[in-house]
Assembly symmetry: D2
Homo-oligomer: 479 residues x 4
């Protein structure tokens, strides 16, 4: 069977030994670093669930007779898009965090599927054929691919060609018969530390003079010159420790800055090289998928947060009094989910055979994702009570002088121990204020709210709406 | 062809000559009363569009080889539910108002389709067979059916059996071999004045002692004892006048109190009679459809309002400056639409063959409908400017002393006449503050927000969510 | 005593017989036209209350030993500003509508008090002395002054000097030894129909080339060439009728377009004539007062709406269940009030002796006024129930065929008659959807939200805030 | 001079050497522990500023001819309350965090001032005299007092007398001629670690059978049996480190669980002992002050957050594009401030001579505090960009392999170094997701939103509002 076990996956990433740094030090073993280990467990959970019959069809696809991970597949129908959303919610329900890497790589493969097809058709290039071969590789080895998009951008008021340091947009600095050499960096790469490969997409807005930046490719994360800096978020130190103060004691997320320090990319892994007209198309297809999917992700995270809040309400003996607020949390999560489903249902095919969500509804979902989860979070904070911001450390619980006081004074309803209450509260705290907190995920994941708003504006078709209004108001064109 | 023309429809309603009153007077000819005429035009538009090839399949269905109006059909698949939402948006885009009647009747037929099937199967009754025959009648004659649900309820803190006046819940007061006699009233009946028939559903919460209230049937609106009082909303007087002060100069809506003054219902039109256990089931299926569909309706009304606001922005030379706000209006409408689609996509079949929306997502859509349109409306008010609340009457425009001043001082950008600006502003005003205004439609249409919240609470499955949280927080059941 | 009775006031307005039109006809007697009569009653209420000892000091001031109406006074302290807010809330609680005229005139007098003082001091003009004399006249006769500000503006993307029709900004078209002749119009003049005088302020943004528009003056509303068109809002027709369908059966509001058809203004009533540098200053002082005061007005209207919603909840037997929502309405009204008080408390003196609200907080209050009342209104709609949009006319209640049915089916809890319920519901309806509805009042009263936002931006002092942040983040200027 | 310097203050706390634990260890020197040191710096800042002439009168008061810290004073006028709000904003602007202790102690002194006066007057006790002497002590030594209120409460659905462990509400367990012995704990005690004294107030809702819990007193934090556990919030570990990853590099906050392990309180420091009728009165006065003041605190924190967001916008070259959002942040902060000022302005005296805020407006302010800061925070997250959740550690910046890449790729506009950008972003991160984050402060500070809502409900006076509505709707009592 092609599908890896979690154990196989984790070992394969350990063996990869990609060059990565965190808090100023080289990470020598990703399975021993508390933070990266949690992130690997998250991706590993996908591997595990994918092998369970209950999720067959949802987390897997059938391709030419063999069962592959859905996370390496191309969406062939609106149903596939709907499953994309469902899978996202499921994984967030199971993990309580964004496991990013497989998702971003998945979306990147689909986006490039479309663009390479267009380029091959119109320009006579060979990119799509290369991508097909690359996909088979990924599917056959059941690899996890990170997806990379965001350039550092330097001075945002200058175009790439006017930047004092051209490397702030990743670019081709050399080229020979066998391949290209790239330099630059991609930031905010979710789950890179737990990925085998990274699929790199270009930025947007390039002209002829900036064609060196119009480059797409895939490369192993242990290729020479690929260097990661794993980001450090507030609360991250806690992930390095044992115990439950970290909140989610099983899974974690991580993001990296991935530096390309003159990295050689062999031709068969290059999917765009100078075709600047197609850069924006790739990106726009990628973000479409991402903006839709976030509705599923945040619904899943919302479910976990609702569950944790419900636990705390129960432990405090306030389930009935807080029932309205728990209902509102449910409403908010389901509203996100429902919107994502709508965007999937209205999905549209492309000549490449890949389907993509409805552009307007996907961006609408993203806008909701920048709003509703904040409400969910606010209610969790309300339900959680002052305790959420005033908890003793687990270490205090084992201190001989104060431990028994904590046990005594943090006890809940009918035999609910202090630990139970603290664990539930720590889970909420970590989702609101720890690494991978909801706010971090929803505001800028898949692009900024401003970017989504711009797309909605472009697709709004105000003229059609004006015509509707004119007719009803009795305003002829020539009045 | 079975499908009526608008003209045929309007004549058929005129000929029906149902007993109806408005502002204290008998309506002798619904085509001459300004208010009811507009309502008929709205329903008539459905008839017209249904005959256009462009909307074939969306507004029509194929039943046993003949083309019938979708508005008399049973939903046989999730696709039918999706079309239900699309049709709702389309009609609201075309009419700018809720044309209620055909929708409510449509939903009522579907709800009873399920319940009568259940009753026949479990109780050995003949209701479903009767309903099938009735459906064929409605389809064959392409009739418009109003749908009735809401009882006056009297003192809401008392159960039906304790009401001093039992008639505040419609009930069977007599029964013989041929049929039953009903007494009571149903309030807020959208579009009754433009309907041939009324399909009456029971209320909910009835016990054995209240079985006289568990009654469902259909009857012609000109049956003896059926009396309508057409409601008068703020701004309604204007609908009786000529001219554009009424805003929407083509279409209107209307609601009636329908009184059943000891009305005889022949057996073949009785679909429930005393089976109180099934009353709530009918209602819940009806509201499911309605709560989903409202997402489409309000998206369509939102489109018109956005268009009108965009017109006014254009006439004032402020299109660019107000672009953000118009985008937000678009976002809000599409968010509603997307949610309704999600609820349709997740639809579920029943043994009767009829499909219904996902209960959780349909109620979630309804909750959004009680919130987002208010935002749309607020933005329209912002864009419209102070003018929205300070307009001269059309009658002033023709007054010799002041008309030319109004023309001079209400002129817009580059030859936009005062009339153009006033017409666009009046359309917005009528949608915000006229009869059938958005607020009236969205807060209580399909039931109150509280009712939708209660359903969301019941379906929230907090236990499953607690289990998710417990796992991630490391809280074993026996900790 | 200088203070007029309501009766004296109404008679004086009737006698004035200003040239005014409504719905295409000359208003011959403002006390006989249903709409204008209600507006007069509103202003009349101020006259009545001002003579009651309970409101002495709040609605009156002591000036040189005599008691004058506060509505003709200059604010001499922060306490006066606080009383300005309190008076606004009181009058809206008593009347349930905006009685505009006296307020706008009051604010205009204060604004010009400041500007004329500045001009006299810096330019050696005589405007302030004229204004003092005019104030004494107004105080001595206890007159009601409307306040005028908004020009029609024509094509808003053009400056005044580029307008094809220069009259779209009111201007001086002729001048002689005795006075000036003005032409143009001022729109949205609250309460003009119930005013003796109109105090006209210029627009803003005028340059040397546009000095003809920089004009301020006061004139009687029955001066030759002053022509009013009283606006017609949705639901306005109902105000012309007897009975309770109009909702508020005692008081009303009104707005006029006031046209200046070459009106002669004697010098002693001219308070600015060409000093374009001072136009914006007058306006900004005027709106400061207005934007603060709206917090009091909307709190007062909110109180009435809360009361009406509470009545309906009581009549329906749902007071307990709706208690949360009524509390939220209270919160929203008090939040507005509290903000307005804050703006008053932080008020600042000017060299003229007149005090004005804190500019930042006054604009902040205005922004809240464009948001919170919509929430109040939404909750009222929720509490009111579907009935709010489905009411029979009062005329139906007296029809012999249907009247008794309405009595029977609209009855409330324990002997609450249909009329009681309908009256309460009609009051809510009129405040949400009738003339002078909350939305009309709060979005653009005192200027658009965009204007208030611009002022907040200007006053935000981001540099000071950056300095705070730099210090805490440890960012020296030279890092 | 009575006023301590910061240095004197810090040394005095060090010397106090209160028994305190954090992360399972005894804190041996509060000036060496990174977390507690920051908290001391915050309180120390108050000492420093109080000695600056610029803040004389605002941060100090004149009492019997000597200048004392305002933080030990009794509010003698509405102006004092206004200064209370202004001081709160100032300190939060200067420190960017809640420095809690002096504020809570201040509020507690004032609350007890009122209650002890009432008890002495009505019951003939000596509490007020004791409190006067205690106040003089505190003023004379310029001490910082923490204020304690919240009991652990155990099973919240049980009354105190039914709790299996009575100690979950602090109580008197022994009493002799010289004093009392108390047992229990108070949780969420802001700034206890930086306080000399703790002023303890009772909970509420006690009956005769629970009089042992009705106890108020003050005690030094180094008294035998007083044990603190300093809470550990997400991101707190970072406060223990050097460098800027902690965001606010100068000041911090802290909260403790304070345990009373059979602590002896001498009589002269006991201010209530069994007078259960007065417990709720003390608490309600305390929260009144706190709920008002939070408007000032959150405005000040909002200012800092706005400044940090503005810095980041500037560094990214996006100041102009983000101007709208920065304006909205300003609006939100000022709205909070303005409401708090309104509550102060409407303050009311008590027989004791102490003034308290308007109860309705103070609770309204608190409700706004549970809402608006979340909006501020959301906008900061929007402006901050994805970077907010994806930052390398400061330690990475000094790593030889990756440091120069971070410098290169995190550089901002025109020579803005990576460090500058990271510092600004870390400040935002710490305010959103670090210890003392806004959410923690605003949702439950001064009590839960539910508690504030309940008070608003009680004070809403719906009957008066119904009367207003009845009059306008023409509903006589006897209709």
């Amino acid at each position: 069977m092609v599908l890896k076990t979690k154990q196989q996956y984790i070992q394969s990433i350990k063996k990869l030994n990609a060059e990565a740094y965190m808090r100023g030090k080289r990470i020598n073993d990703v399975t021993q670093n508390g933070m990266t280990r949690l992130a690997l467990e998250g991706v590993g959970e996908i591997y595990d669930l994918s092998r369970q019959p209950a999720y067959s069809g949802l987390l897997t696809r059938n391709e030419n007779g063999s069962t592959i991970s859905a996370y390496c597949s191309i969406h062939r129908s609106p149903e596939d898009l709907v499953k994309r959303v469902r899978a996202a919610r499921l994984i967030c329900q199971k993990c309580g965090v964004c496991t990013a890497s497989r998702c971003c790589g998945w979306d990147a493969l689909n986006a490039l599927w479309y663009t390479t097809y267009e380029m091959d058709t119109k320009l006579g290039t060979q990119y799509h054929k290369r991508l097909e071969r690359y996909s088979h590789l990924v599917q056959g080895k059941d690899l996890t691919c990170a997806g990379a998009l965001t350039d550092p951008k330097g001075n945002r008021s200058l175009k790439p060609k006017h930047q004092p340091d051209k490397d702030v947009y990743l670019r081709v600095v050399d080229e020979n018969r066998k391949g290209i050499v790239v330099r630059g960096a991609k930031s905010m790469i979710g789950g890179a530390i737990g990925s085998h490969e990274i699929v790199v997409q270009p930025g947007t807005g390039f002209s002829e003079a900036e064609k060196e930046h119009a480059v797409a490719f895939a490369i192993s994360l242990n290729a020479p010159g690929v260097v990661q800096v794993v980001n450090s978020q507030s609360g991250g130190e806690r992930k390095l420790e044992k115990g439950y103060d970290k909140g989610n004691v099983i899974f974690g997320s991580s993001e990296s800055l991935v530096i390309f320090d003159d990295v050689f990319i062999p031709n068969e892994r290059v999917f765009m090289n100078g075709e600047y007209d197609y850069a924006a198309e790739t990106v726009s297809k990628f973000v479409l998928l991402h903006r839709m999917v976030l509705g599923g992700c945040l619904a899943g995270c919302g479910d976990v947060l609702t569950g944790a809040a419900a636990l705390l309400a129960e432990y405090n003996g306030l389930s009935r009094q807080l029932s309205d607020r728990l209902t509102e949390m449910t409403y908010l999560s389901e509203a996100l989910y429902s919107q994502a489903l709508g965007a999937a249902l209205q999905g549209q095919p492309t000549p490449s055979g890949a389907w993509f969500p409805d552009p307007l509804l996907a961006n609408v979902t993203k806008l909701s994702v920048t709003r509703l989860p904040y409400e969910i979070q606010k209610i969790a904070e309300d339900i959680g009570g002052g305790m959420l911001a005033c908890m003793p450390s687990e270490l205090d619980l084992t201190n001989p002088r104060v431990g028994h006081f904590i046990e005594k004074y943090y006890k809940g309803l009918n035999g609910v121990t202090a630990e139970k209450r603290l664990r539930a509260a720590r889970l909420i705290e970590s989702m609101i204020a720890g690494p991978g907190r909801l706010g971090a995920l929803c505001m800028h994941g898949g692009g900024s709210p401003a970017a989504a708003q711009m797309t909605v504006r472009q697709l709004a078709d105000l003229e059609a709406k004006k015509t509707m209004a004119r007719k009803l108001a009795g305003i002829p064109s020539d009045l």
